[in-house]
């Protein structure tokens, strides 16, 4: 299996490191030709405005949209914003996932936080513990379409992870915690 990681800007190296640790070939994607024969794509954390502008400039929007109809794509934080239909902000979005997202929903860096989440779909028989989640200037998933399944919520009910068939969005960063359960879940999609 070969997974592409969008490497325009952000913490793509952290995703690649985890993929390689679990024995998956990972390739950096900066141009459309880097997407040849990939079995899935991860869009990392970073700045969604930066990633969006570079994706437009280097012709990646349509190839990623086409990939979304056949292969799994996962966006973490900025990546989740990029997948969304709407972010209440004028910026390039793929718009492939039927979620509406609010950027910097918790505030600035001083409000960044870590917490433990119940994610029943992602826990395994070997590790049934809660998922430790890192939220950095994080977005929230404000609403989801009918085809979208909510995977995780904060204790107050706000949505922070969701899946729509082969598309996965997390407002937090599983790539920063050393816990590979989300990556394994993505690979099983």
């Amino acid at each position: 299996m070969k997974i592409g990681v969008l490497a325009l800007q952000g913490d793509f190296a952290e995703h690649i490191q985890i993929l390689e640790k679990i024995g998956v070939t990972a390739v950096e994607v900066r141009l459309p030709q880097d997407m040849a024969d990939i079995d899935g794509l991860i869009i990392p954390g970073g700045e969604s405005t930066t990633i969006g502008k570079l994706a437009v400039r280097f012709g990646l929007m349509e190839p990623i949209r086409q990939l979304a109809s056949t292969r799994p794509i996962w966006g973490t934080c900025a990546g989740a914003i990029f997948l969304a239909r709407d972010s209440r902000h004028s910026q390039p979005l793929l718009g492939v996932m039927d979620i509406s997202i609010r950027r910097n929903a918790f505030g600035r860096q001083a409000e960044s936080f870590e917490t433990d989440l119940d994610v029943p779909d992602v826990v395994t028989a070997e590790n049934s513990q809660k998922v430790h989640a890192v939220f950095i200037r994080a977005p929230l998933i404000e609403s989801v379409g009918t085809d979208v399944k909510v995977l995780a919520r904060l204790p107050d009910g706000r949505i922070v992870a969701a899946r729509q068939l082969n598309l996965l969005a997390t407002a937090f960063h599983p790539e920063l915690t050393g816990d590979d359960r989300f990556h394994r879940y993505f690979l099983s999609m």
């Binding site: 490497a7 970073g46 700045e47 860096q109 001083a110 936080f113």
Partner: protein
């Protein structure tokens, strides 16, 4: 809700999100918007860019909070701001304002000749400059969550940025080749905390993200620093002291992403207009060097 804030992981984590990106110095909300529009991953809110600080002389201090507030309101990307070395009250003010990152910077006039700010005492992360591995690890020991290898800010001359990046990466390569029993003597030699030096050896890189700063003026300069091994670049005077800031900013962002692709760097480097008027570091008297500030 069981939540923790201000952790080392969150502080270092924000820097990880900035990797592969360009952080631009801006002095107005209009410049901040231009930077965001060009694809900057963060902006540094300043009263004056380093080139002007050099021209004006005198004591350079933290910016007027009003400028920082206006820039924070103008953009959605992270906003950084500078405090003087050792000036922990300026840092407290920046934390109260709510900036996303504090740069304890040698570009401003140092407030303390011996001590830097105790950065562990803050919830907001700090970035600090370094010229070598010892200085980088002393700053991380004090709580810095991000490092930038220093160049000579405000000159448009990349030579010092290259020298300091090569110094840090060269020392890390030496460290990796050492036996474990040699690490303590090396820690003593370079004035680095032993535990952090050991951690650097085990990981094969600094424990935090490391950007280049100072003297970067062209897309080629940015790509040069990236190929030398830094995680991203700060561009100070190089953008808004040039002939066409919009185009140059965008080109530097694109060259930073495609830093190993000379075809793309050539393409984005076309017709950028006049670069900032440079000033060769080797012709400057020692007293005008800013990078030597930091203890």
């Amino acid at each position: 809700m069981d939540q923790t804030v201000g952790t080392t992981g969150l502080k270092r984590g924000l820097a990880q999100m900035l990797k592969g990106g360009v952080i631009m110095d801006v002095v107005t909300s209009d410049q901040a918007k231009i930077a965001e529009q060009a694809g900057a991953c963060a902006v540094m809110a300043l009263e004056r860019v380093p080139a002007d600080i050099r021209v004006d002389g005198g004591v350079a201090r933290m910016s007027d909070p009003d400028i920082i507030y206006k820039i924070m309101d103008a953009v959605t990307i992270p906003v950084m701001a500078k405090c003087r070395i050792g000036h922990f009250v300026e840092a407290q003010i920046l934390e109260a304002i709510g900036v996303d990152y504090i740069d304890e910077s040698e570009v401003l006039t140092p407030a303390d000749q011996y001590h830097h700010v105790d950065k562990h005492a803050f919830k907001i992360p700090f970035v600090c400059g370094c010229r070598n591995l010892g200085e980088a690890l002393r700053r991380i020991g004090e709580g810095a969550a991000m490092i930038r290898t220093k160049g000579e800010a405000g000159t448009g001359d990349v030579v010092e940025a290259v020298f300091h990046a090569r110094t840090v990466f060269g020392e890390i390569r030496r460290l990796i080749a050492m036996g474990d029993e040699e690490v303590m003597a090396f820690a003593k030699e370079i004035g680095a905390p032993y535990e952090l030096l050991k951690e650097t050896k085990d990981k094969g890189h600094l424990p935090v993200v490391n950007f280049a700063a100072g003297g970067i003026a062209t897309p080629a300069d940015a790509a040069l620093m990236m190929q030398l091994g830094v995680d991203g670049v700060f561009v100070g005077s190089g953008i808004f002291k040039s002939g066409n800031p919009e185009r140059r900013a965008k080109a530097i962002v694109e060259a930073t992403t495609h830093f190993r692709d000379p075809q793309i760097i050539a393409e984005v480097s076309r017709n950028l207009g006049e670069p900032m008027v440079g000033r060769s570091v080797s012709s400057m008297p020692e007293s005008e060097h800013l990078a030597v500030r930091g203890w």
